[in-house]
């Protein structure tokens, strides 16, 4: 127990110092870290739907979009609304939650491939709506997106400005980093607690055998809707934070590729295992960025010029890595098997 506490303190310190170190390398890296945390957030939300309840969702980015647009519309000059975060963030989660239930309701009878196709369609529908809801009434400003979105302000603390504290500069991204870390901690706790609860077990039961789940008295309709709604609300919160951080949203940020990326994070890490999913999300967020920054200089050093476009190479390596993982660790890097150990630890 003592070693565990020590480990926790070490991890917390490392995470706490990380943005200050990253600032020295470049503020861009803090932004990358922030986006990585957002993706962990999204993966954990999708993990409820795909990992726990076993419902393959290829349109998850739609909920991210709903959250982001909720923030963008309610806190920007677009409608000249500037509501505080404690109104918008819960609203974003609520709208995403409703969208989740709307997607869930007509797809309750579907499983596997069929469900995947419908959810994929749903994701595209939401994006196309965002793209076209500019006429006759301009709601989303179409493909041009919404600009000059308010940043996050908590009381007197403005997350866009730089603060000086203890002789250190806390830039906007650094402050967002700490906030996101805090939110993430909450999301992890929620995930872990759900996993080991009556509802979480019902989700897993549905994934394992839906007919048996029904036969022992689980109202599979409600429990599946709950999974969709819970997963979606995580996406909604992440979307709100995304809009606040970037100050700009457009439909381009919510394409199918993003859904697939989030799904890949869940699958790569190990479906159903919170820690695996976190690892998968961090890996798939950071490695491509490292490649982006290292491939070009490396080529210049080796050949004197850039032979392959870094973007192409990045996707190539990425693809190879995914194929290798699926070949050698088909259950993910860190699969769900720890469940048993956890339970026996509780007993001793």
């Amino acid at each position: 127990m003592k070693r565990r506490t020590l480990g926790l303190i070490l991890v917390a310190t490392a995470l706490g110092l990380l943005p200050l170190v990253l600032t020295q390398i470049g503020t861009a890296w803090v932004r990358i870290a922030n986006l990585a945390i957002l993706f962990v957030f999204l993966s954990l939300g999708l993990n409820i739907v795909v990992g726990m309840a076993g419902l393959l969702d290829l349109g998850y980015v739609a909920f991210y979009a709903v959250g982001a647009y909720t923030w963008a519309l309610l806190a920007s000059p677009h409608f000249d609304l500037h509501l505080p975060f404690w109104v918008i963030l819960p609203l974003g989660a609520l709208f995403a939650c409703i969208a989740g239930a709307l997607l869930g309701a007509p797809t309750l009878r579907l499983r596997g491939d069929y469900l995947a196709i419908v959810t994929l369609g749903f994701g595209e529908i939401v994006r196309i709506f965002m793209n076209n809801l500019s006429a006759p009434f301009n709601i989303t400003n179409g493909p041009k997106g919404i600009t000059r979105i308010d940043g996050l302000k908590i009381g007197g603390l403005d997350f866009r400005a730089t603060d000086h504290f203890l002789g250190l500069d806390f830039t906007g991204p650094v402050k967002y980093y700490y906030l996101l870390l805090l939110l993430l901690l909450g999301v992890i706790i929620v995930n872990l607690r759900l996993q080991d609860s009556r509802i979480g077990r019902a989700w897993v039961a549905i994934r394992e055998d839906e007919i048996a789940a029904k036969a022992v008295g689980i109202n599979t309709r409600n429990i599946k809707l709950l999974a969709f709604a819970m997963g979606a609300s995580f996406g909604g919160i992440a979307g709100g934070m995304f809009a606040a951080m970037q100050g700009f949203v457009s439909p381009e940020s919510f394409v199918l590729n993003e859904s697939i990326m989030i799904l890949a994070m869940v699958v790569l890490g190990g479906m159903g295992n919170v820690w695996g999913v976190i690892a998968g999300a961090l890996l798939l967020s950071f490695v491509p960025e490292f490649l982006r920054y290292s491939v070009e200089p490396l080529q210049r050093a080796l050949f004197g010029r850039s032979l392959i476009d870094p973007e192409v190479l990045r996707m190539l390596l990425f693809g190879i890595a995914l194929v290798l993982t699926m070949r050698f660790r088909p259950a993910g890097l860190w699969p769900e098997s720890r469940h048993r150990r956890e339970m026996s630890e509780v007993r001793t």
Binding site: S197, A205, D209, V216, G217, H339, R340, M343, S344
Partner: protein
């Protein structure tokens, strides 16, 4: 003895096949009632209709004095009928204990917020659920395997686990679909003791079984289905000698 379950004129058709034809039967409280018949006679279809997995074409079921809502399996389970499956259906990647805890879902209430906030009520309920699940595992004789994944259990233990999970729903009627299938003589004997113990505790049991010895020794009454029709019903010793039953099992004209 009072009647616990009364099925009236159940009909079920699959395309051109009349799988159940005006099947009526009544099960008394506290009895072990056997449902037998050759392969394809409609026994499992009857089970599936009774537990809401299949929708009947016509007919009603009275259970515990009330008309049973057969539209969904979870409603049937809530009314107090629990079942096992012919081809065992466990939650393979969950532990034995968790499987039984899922069986408690119906009789517990904690929701999402209770789970997230870990309220006192939720923790208390969780603790009770766990204790009850452990008791049930001990009762069916696999207490030592509580933390093994269900799919790692032996065949006989999986059967027992399925019964424990069904018992966790606090049923008034336990419906077992070929529980002795694939069991050896010792396992079958243990199963017989288990079922007799359940009845001694006041549970009513509906049993589909191929093992004639088990059925004849265990059941108070049996019904025989053939081509979706009930051709005989009564005390095993009498049914055994029924000409129609013999013909159904051995073939040939009546």
């Amino acid at each position: 003895m009072s009647v616990l379950l009364e099925a009236r004129n159940i009909n079920k058709r699959f395309g051109g096949v009349q799988a159940l034809k005006d099947v009526s039967l009544s099960i008394a409280r506290g009895e072990i009632y056997g449902l037998i018949g050759p392969n394809g006679a409609g026994k499992t279809t009857f089970f599936n209709v009774l537990t809401g997995l299949y929708q009947r074409d016509s007919g009603d079921v009275l259970f515990d004095g009330r008309l049973l809502d057969l539209s969904s399996p979870h409603l049937v389970a809530a009314a107090g009928i629990a079942r096992t499956f012919q081809n065992i259906r466990l939650f393979g990647n969950m532990t034995a204990l968790e499987n039984v805890m899922v069986g408690r879902h119906l009789r517990t209430h904690a929701g999402v917020f209770g789970a997230i906030l870990r309220t006192r009520a939720q923790r208390e309920e969780e603790r009770k659920m766990r204790r009850r699940a452990e008791e049930l595992l001990h009762y069916v004789g696999i207490g030592a395997r509580a933390h093994d994944l269900a799919r790692h259990l032996s065949y006989g233990d999986q059967r027992r686990l399925e019964i424990a999970r069904a018992l966790a729903t606090e049923p008034k009627l336990l419906a077992l679909d070929e529980p002795a299938a694939g069991m050896n003589a010792t396992e079958t004997d243990q199963l017989r003791q288990l079922i007799e113990g359940l009845r001694a505790n006041g549970l009513t049991v509906l049993l589909i079984e191929h093992d004639v010895k088990l059925v004849m020794g265990l059941c108070d009454r049996v019904a025989v289905l053939d081509y979706g029709e009930k051709i005989a019903e009564g005390v095993p010793a009498v049914v055994q000698k029924d000409a129609k039953v013999i013909a159904a099992y051995l073939g040939g004209a009546v």
